[in-house]
């Protein structure tokens, strides 16, 4: 087993990997940008090295600096986390060439799964259904032709695309020409590549993904699905496992398809296959994420496995620790992603200093977090600051615990999505488990405002008392006192009264 691993990432996922290493007795090497000197992953790691200025392009994305740091520190392996260099085949290749272990699939597997069209054709060859559409780049003429064959509505997608960019829906023939133009121009500006292809657009479908583990001996197992239909701007908001929509038969079919495709791709380590599932429980392969997913904890909570440790063992050449028949899902797990953004102001990013942080604790609650009270959330990186995960014997208990925990959770100083989660967890459709990928957008279209309800009186009363205590408390002698100070005086007076 490795003696030391470098974690080429930051934030909650770097902390997550550091913890797994420490629990395995493996030394940890953190890398950090100038904006992250005081970041949690730097505080917790055994070693930490500065690799550049704040912008990712000059630090966390610098292949040479990362590899050089691994060699200097004597790390034997590199864990890329998610994002940044995690799905960059050139990086994986460099790591391999330098004689280090990459905690993830081979560079070939990453490349094979990287291009959307290449992944689609690989899936088709493996006999896994993909969303009806084309598997190569098309001319405008071919797009029009293909659209007719596939049937409207269609989705025109950038071949090099990602994150919802270079995507256009066309519901009528008339819309096709415009959609093609728009998609091409957005694609070329965003990815410097105007190549596009066409897919049938599935309405009211669910986004369901299957977690797999594959060792270097060719053993592949699936660990059950994750329900990821609750999205905003193609960004996942709440995930759960199992999916309230998936029965044992569908789970087995999804699992078998995932394993088949992974084997066809010669895939190793942890991976996730994303599917669209329609109301008739037909499923269509979308793409394979060749890395650890943000939402991996819900799978860990129901399977009992530690996916990061499994990743590391696989990278070290060990066989899988479990056989398929040994994997059983216990209970239900839900994850709420905590973004530093303002749900009351069109989800504007909200970087800044976190003045107050109170983490919920207690039964069934897990927090994977990259923040602490007093820390700075930089403007340079992803807005995910933490993940709140709740486990229960069934979905109802998991939801009950999540609501309880959300209420205990306080993050002040930056705006977060916590109030947004409060509302979703009260939504009757959510409670019934009846939703699809467009659900949140529709739901948000109705607008998201502050409650004006029963707590307003308390807020008004508390606000007045707060301001009042900032004044020299009458009848006490006058003279300006600093807020905090007089608050403490007040507390002290109260103390005195209580002691009587």
């Amino acid at each position: 087993m490795f003696k030391k691993i470098l974690i080429a990432n930051r934030g909650e996922i770097a902390v997550r990997v550091i913890r797994a290493c420490r629990e395995m007795g493996i030394g940890t090497v953190a890398v950090y940008s100038e904006a992250d000197r005081a970041a949690l992953h730097v505080r917790l790691a055994d070693e930490a090295y500065l690799i550049g200025p704040p912008p990712s392009a000059q630090s966390y994305l610098k292949v040479d600096r990362v590899i050089e740091t691994a060699k200097v520190s004597g790390a034997e392996a590199i864990h890329p986390g998610y994002g940044f260099l995690s799905e960059n085949p050139e990086f994986a290749l460099r790591v391999e060439q330098e004689g280090l272990a990459f905690v993830g699939p081979t560079s070939q597997a990453i490349r094979a799964m990287g291009g959307k069209t290449s992944a689609r054709s690989l899936a088709t060859k493996a006999g896994v259904t993909v969303v009806p559409g084309t598997t190569r780049d098309l001319t405008d003429q071919e797009v029009l032709q293909a659209a007719k064959e596939i049937g409207l509505p269609v989705l025109i997608k950038a071949s090099a695309g990602g994150g919802g960019k270079g995507m256009r829906i066309a519901s009528t023939e008339a819309e096709l020409a415009g959609a093609i133009r728009a998609a091409r121009s957005e694609a070329s500006s965003a990815f410097g590549n105007p190549a596009i292809y066409v897919e049938r657009y599935l309405e009211r479908a669910r986004h369901i993904e299957m977690q797999i583990l594959a060792d270097k001996a060719g053993n592949v197992v699936y660990l059950g699905e994750r329900e990821c239909s609750l999205q905003r701007r193609h960004q996942k908001v709440i995930e759960e496992s199992p999916s309230p929509f998936v029965d044992a038969d569908l789970r087995r079919r999804l699992g078998k398809a995932a394993v088949k495709l992974a084997k066809a791709a010669g895939y190793t380590n942890a991976g996730t296959l994303e599917f669209l599932v329609d109301s008739a429980k037909n499923f269509y392969f979308l793409e394979l994420n060749a890395r650890l997913q943000v939402e991996h904890p819900v799978t860990e909570m129901v399977t009992g496995l530690d996916l990061v440790k499994e990743q590391i063992r696989i990278a070290a050449g060990e066989p899988l620790s479990v056989r398929q028949e040994e994997i059983e899902l216990r209970g239900h797990a839900i994850e709420c992603r905590i973004y530093a953004e303002d749900p009351f102001n069109n989800f504007m990013p909200s970087p800044g200093r976190i003045h107050v942080l109170r983490n919920p604790t207690g039964p069934g609650i897990r927090i994977d977090s990259g923040i602490y009270e007093g820390c700075e959330v930089p403007i340079f990186y992803d807005p995910i600051v933490a993940k709140l995960i709740a486990w229960g014997q069934d979905r109802a208990e998991a939801i009950g615990r999540m609501r309880r925990a959300l209420r205990e959770y306080a993050i002040l100083g930056v705006k977060t999505s916590i109030p947004f989660h409060h509302r979703i967890l009260d939504d009757p459709q959510f409670l019934k488990g009846e939703f699809h990928t467009q659900f949140l957008e529709k739901w948000l279209a109705e607008g998201f405002k502050e409650e004006s309800g029963s707590l307003a009186e308390i807020a008004l009363v508390a606000g007045a008392l707060y301001l009042h205590t900032k004044k020299p408390p009458s009848p006490a002698p006058a003279g300006q006192a600093a807020p905090a100070e007089s608050l403490w005086k007040l507390a002290a007076r109260h103390e005195a009264m209580r002691r009587r």
Partner: protein, 168 residues
């Protein structure tokens, strides 16, 4: 100490009639007896008629408080009674003597300026794109007008609350 408090457009009168413990607060027509204690920072524990509340108070400006109760934020503008009315912290894009300002809602970097000096813009038209946390955010004009000032260029780093563009 008495205050007029503006919450979601409605005006309330709040008067602290007893500052000791238990405190007495009159809100509009009803009176509340409040046992409260300071937990730390802006956090207070209130017990009102046997009900226990955790309340976080955050000051966003003079008299402008965000009061969090049971995880729900309440933006309230307090005015001490008798004092000359102050205008509450201006919201981005709010009209002030015919001027509309496009204000950066958060620190970030200007990636694109979509208008030019003297250009006519309509309500809702995209004016400037600011990037933060790997997300591009298009700031729109809150109403029609003519671009009078562009205070930043593409690539400029901006702070939250900075005025970027002025429209008249």
């Amino acid at each position: 100490m008495a205050y007029s408090a503006d919450f979601q457009g409605r005006a309330h009168r709040v008067a602290v009639t007893e500052g000791g413990l238990p405190a007495a607060v009159r809100l509009d027509e009803s009176t509340y007896e409040v046992d409260f204690t300071h937990i730390g920072g802006g956090l207070f524990s209130l017990i009102v008629r046997g009900r226990s509340y955790e309340v976080d108070v955050v000051e966003e400006g003079e008299g402008a408080l965000v009061v969090w109760v049971e995880g729900e934020p309440h933006h309230i503008q307090f005015e001490e009674e008798g004092r000359r009315r102050r205008r509450s912290a201006r919201a981005p894009g709010q009209v002030a003597g015919g001027r509309r300002t496009i204000v950066a809602p958060m620190p970030g970097k200007v990636v694109k300026v979509l208008v030019s000096l003297g250009q006519e813009v309509s309500a809702g038209q995209g004016v400037i794109v600011v990037e933060a946390m790997k997300m591009e955010n298009e700031l729109k004009a809150s109403g029609p007008g003519v671009v009078k000032e562009i205070r930043v260029q593409e690539g400029t780093g901006v702070g939250g609350g900075d005025v970027l563009v002025v429209i008249e």
